[in-house]
Each structure stands twice: as structure tokens, then as C-alpha cells.
């Protein structure tokens, strides 16, 4: 099996089957999305081949759908709040893990990162039981608390990675030149973390907008966008859902391109460093 051909490592000509495999996998990954987008313009609705009757009618129906818009507004609010909570707690958590020693640090580290790898159902249910015992009514607030808790891990991971890349010598130089600890933090540490924080915010926002597993159990009367879509799916498939999905896809695309440019712009291509845990990017859990 010739995996690498050519004497010159600078110009490795990949052998045929690797190319084919890669192409097939990319095709597999993008197939559903492409189908989704195409059929959002299909007059005859979802399914059926080939697609015909190019139309924008599903989008028109979508834009007139009040329930969807309400849920979008809810989702935006929840996402913004989740970003705030996750950053407000995740940044100190990253700092603590990077620099401080305290009893229970190992346990803390594991707990903070657990929601990243745990199926969302466990996070969601455990919080549900908490709210039940505390006699808290389920509402957007409980969803915000759920998202914030689940997504602290994302903020912590991103900021921690940023801290690792930080050149300690810069902070030491600042102290050496007479700045206090606080001044050094504000004028040297934070600006260096700017990129990690923005990247984390973007990621958390997107994840919150898409989040369904945890939200499923903590929903009150008001729906978030994914749960609104979910509700409709239970009732049957309509191409309107294709339309809203296409729009979600476009926004996600925009978000990730932005995220990538941010990181690549600062430091060359993003190196995924498995410092705390390997995957930084986490799709919606289930």
C-alpha cells in the first residue's frame, strides 16, 4: 500500500485512493446540506426527484410566520445572555486553572469540562431536577442558566488555550517596569486574550442558537428557534423548515468564516492544541 509517493516530501503526491476517500467523505458531509438548500426552492415540496418548480414561496411563508420570529428573538436573547454568563465565569476559570493552586483543582477542572463531552440529556435532566427541587418554574431563564452552564467549558477551553500561548515574559516585563498586578492584567494580559475571548464568544453564541438537547428539558412556555422547529417536525415535514434551515446554514457559515479569519489572522493557522481537551469545536450535543 503506497500511502505516500514521490521522493520529494515537499510535493507529496497523494496516492489515488486517499484522494477518492477524501472526496467521498466531503461529499457525504455536505450532501444533506446541499439537498436541503436545493429543496428549499422546490415548489413541489420536500422529497421527490428531480426537484422542479423553482420558487421562493417557502421563504415568503417563512417570513410571515410570527411564531418563528418570536422564537428567533428568544434565541438571540438567550444566546447573548449565555455568552455573558459563560465568559464571566469561563475567563476566571481559565485563569484559575492556568495560574492558581487551590484544593479541589483537579475535580474542578473535570467538572467544568464534563458538559463538553457528556450527552446533553444528562446535563439537561440534572438541571431539571435541580429546578424541580428548588421549585423554579421553567422558562427562558432556566434555559439561559442551562446554556450558560453547559457552555462555560467552551469559554474556559478557548481562553485557556490563549493563556498557554501568552508569553509570560511580557507580563514579567510589565511588572519589571513598575506596573502593578492589576495594571499588568488589564494592559498586557487581557489584550493578548482578546482574540480568544472574541473567538469564544462567537462559538458560544452559535452553539447556543443551535442548542437543543439541554433546552429540551428546560423549556417553559417560550420556545427557542431549534425547539420551535422541533415542534413542527413532530407534526410533519414542510419545506418551510428547509427554508429556515438554509438560512441557519448561511448564518453558521458566516459565523465560522469569521471565527476562522479571526484566529488565522492573529497567529497563522489555528493550531488545535489538546491542552485541556481535544475538540474545541462542539456541535449541538444530544
Amino acid at each position: 500500500m503506497e500511502l505516500l509517493v514521490s521522493n520529494d516530501p515537499r510535493k507529496r503526491r497523494p496516492s489515488g485512493w486517499l484522494w477518492v476517500h477524501a472526496l467521498l467523505v466531503f461529499g457525504f458531509l455536505y450532501l444533506p446540506i446541499v439537498v436541503l438548500v436545493i429543496y428549499s426552492f422546490n415548489g413541489a415540496g420536500v422529497g421527490g426527484f428531480p426537484p422542479r418548480d423553482l420558487t421562493l414561496s417557502w421563504y415568503r411563508i417563512l417570513f410571515g410566520d410570527q411564531a418563528i420570529w418570536d422564537s428567533v428573538v428568544n434565541s438571540l436573547g438567550v444566546a447573548a445572555a449565555a455568552v455573558a454568563i459563560a465568559l464571566a465565569l469561563g475567563i476566571p476559570a481559565a485563569l484559575a486553572l492556568d495560574r492558581a493552586q487551590f484544593p479541589g483543582k483537579a475535580l474542578f477542572r473535570r467538572l467544568v469540562l464534563l458538559p463538553l463531552i457528556l450527552p446533553g440529556i444528562i446535563t439537561g435532566l440534572s438541571l431539571l431536577m435541580l429546578f424541580n427541587e428548588a421549585h423554579t418554574k421553567l422558562s427562558l431563564l432556566t434555559i439561559i442558566l442551562g446554556h450558560g452552564t453547559a457552555l462555560i467549558s467552551v469559554a474556559t477551553t478557548e481562553v485557556f488555550a490563549g493563556l498557554q500561548k501568552l508569553d509570560r515574559a511580557q507580563e514579567e516585563a510589565s511588572l519589571d517596569l513598575g506596573a502593578t498586578y492589576w495594571q499588568t492584567f488589564v494592559q498586557v494580559t487581557l489584550p493578548n486574550l482578546k482574540l480568544s475571548i472574541i473567538g469564544a464568544a462567537l462559538l458560544i453564541f452559535t452553539l447556543s442558537m443551535d442548542e437543543i438537547a439541554v433546552s429540551f428539558f428546560l423549556i417553559g412556555r417560550d420556545n427557542t428557534l431549534p425547539l420551535e422547529i422541533w415542534g413542527r417536525l413532530r407534526r410533519g415535514i414542510t419545506p418551510e423548515i428547509n427554508a429556515v434551515s438554509t438560512i441557519i446554514f448561511i448564518f453558521s457559515l458566516g459565523a465560522i468564516v469569521l471565527w476562522y479569519r479571526l484566529r488565522a489572522g492573529a497567529e497563522g493557522s489555528p493550531e488545535i492544541t489538546p491542552e485541556l481537551i481535544e475538540p474545541e469545536v462542539q456541535g449541538a450535543q444530544s
Binding site: A22, L36, L89, I229, I248
Partner: protein, 282 residues
Amino acid sequence: MFSRAYRTLVTVPPLLWVAVFLLLPYILMFCYSFWSVSPAQGIVHSWTIENYRQLFSIQVYWQTLLRSMWIAVRVTFFSLLLGYPLAYFLSFCAGARKDLYYQLVIIPLWVSYLVRAYAWKTILGSEGVLNTLLQYVHLTRHPLEFLLYSPFAVVLTLTHIYTSFTFLPIYASLEHIPRNLVEASNDLGASPAQTFWRVIFPLSIPGVLAGATFAFVLSLGDFLAPLLLGGPSGIMISNIVVSLFGAAYNWPLGAAISLCMLVLVVSLLFVSERLEKKWSFS
């Protein structure tokens, strides 16, 4: 680097939050699993191991658990099968386009899970794109029923979701392999295939373990794909838990099953971490 005061300021709020919203709920779940539900639809705070007895004795519960694990195993297997060569291709063969391809792999991850699962539903249905396409080109005459509302659909969809998840850590570990090791291996007479199996693959094992753990754990606990695409034969353990917290109203039993899942997952993570450390050499 920080003085005492700042250290406290920095560690206390997250610690507090984590204690209240992560640790406490798990403890509660533990407690719930030993409580029971009364006829009047209330949670009775009396201690019993009835729930666990039921979990292990009633066939539908542990059978579903086993089926879920089997589905998770298949998802993990196929995700690795798709993800590893892709990661290798990007790391060693893609050259200047590496970044571009990396972005292409990441993009589907950011697209909503729900959207992707829904898309497969429209493709696999008996009136769906795939079936009508096959009939259109006269490859089949009737819709293939097994495509949707089956374990097949669940495995397919979850593989689609988690291939990118397995890709990421494998790619990271492959990127970490110093290229001069590959050159040294070639220099010493190893063919490209020998170099892969003797040098590259062993050094990528931590990434493979991490990716496999992710895929297995997350697909084991998945409830959305089975609900949308699984049908009666594709029910997974999380669906049972969901109904226990919903229509079937037996929170303590649901908590017991959840706790079992939690313990299973945490043990797996623990084992995986130990193995990863054993196989990591840098």
C-alpha cells in the same frame, strides 16, 4: 502571578457556579434515583433501590441499553473509518490547501444538528430524495423501507454528525508528529507503508482514542436522531429516559438510568484518559 485577593476573586465565582449548577444537580440525580414516585404524581423522598432493580430486571430497559451501545459502537467504527484517512490526507498530503480543507471539514460541525438530522429525514424517506432518485433512474421499483425509521438511519445520521468529531483530535495528533521522524524512518529504509504503521499510526493513537471516546459517548446518549429517524426499532436508551421524564412520568427511574449512563460515560472517559497517557510520548 496574582496576589491573594485576586486569586480569590478569580477562583470563587466559577467554583461556586460549578458547585451549584453542576455538582449539586448530579448529587440530586443520585438522590432521585433512590426515591420513588407516588400514585398522586408526586416525588416521594423515601429511599429505595426499586428503580435499579427494575432497570436490571425489566427486559426492555437493559435490552435497549445494549442496543444503544451496539449502535454507538457502529457509529464510532464508521466515524473513525471516515475520519482517520481524511485527517491523514489533510495532514500529510494536502500541502498548501490544508487550511482550506480544514475549514471545509469544520463547517458542517457548525451547522445545527437538528438541521442535519432533518435533512437526512427528507433524503431517506419513502417519498424522499434518495428513494425517488433510485426509482427515477430505474434502479429500484419500490421505495426501500429500511432507509428510514430503522437503526440504519440512526447509525447513518450519527456517523454523519460525528465524523467531524473524530476527525479533529486525530488531525491534531497527526499534526503534532514531527516531520523529521517521517524522514528518519524513510532514511533508515522503511517504505511509506512501513513508516505509517511503525511510526505515524502509533503516535496518532491518543487522537484516535479521544475521537472514538467522543463519538461513542455522544452517540450513546443521543435521543434526537432516534426520535426523528429511528422508528420503533431504533429506540435508544435516552428515548426511554425522555419518556420517563415526560409521558411515562417516573422521574426516579429516569434518574436511575441517567445515573447509570453518567457512571458508564465517566468510567469510559477515565479509561480512555489512562490509555491516552500511556500512548502519548511527547
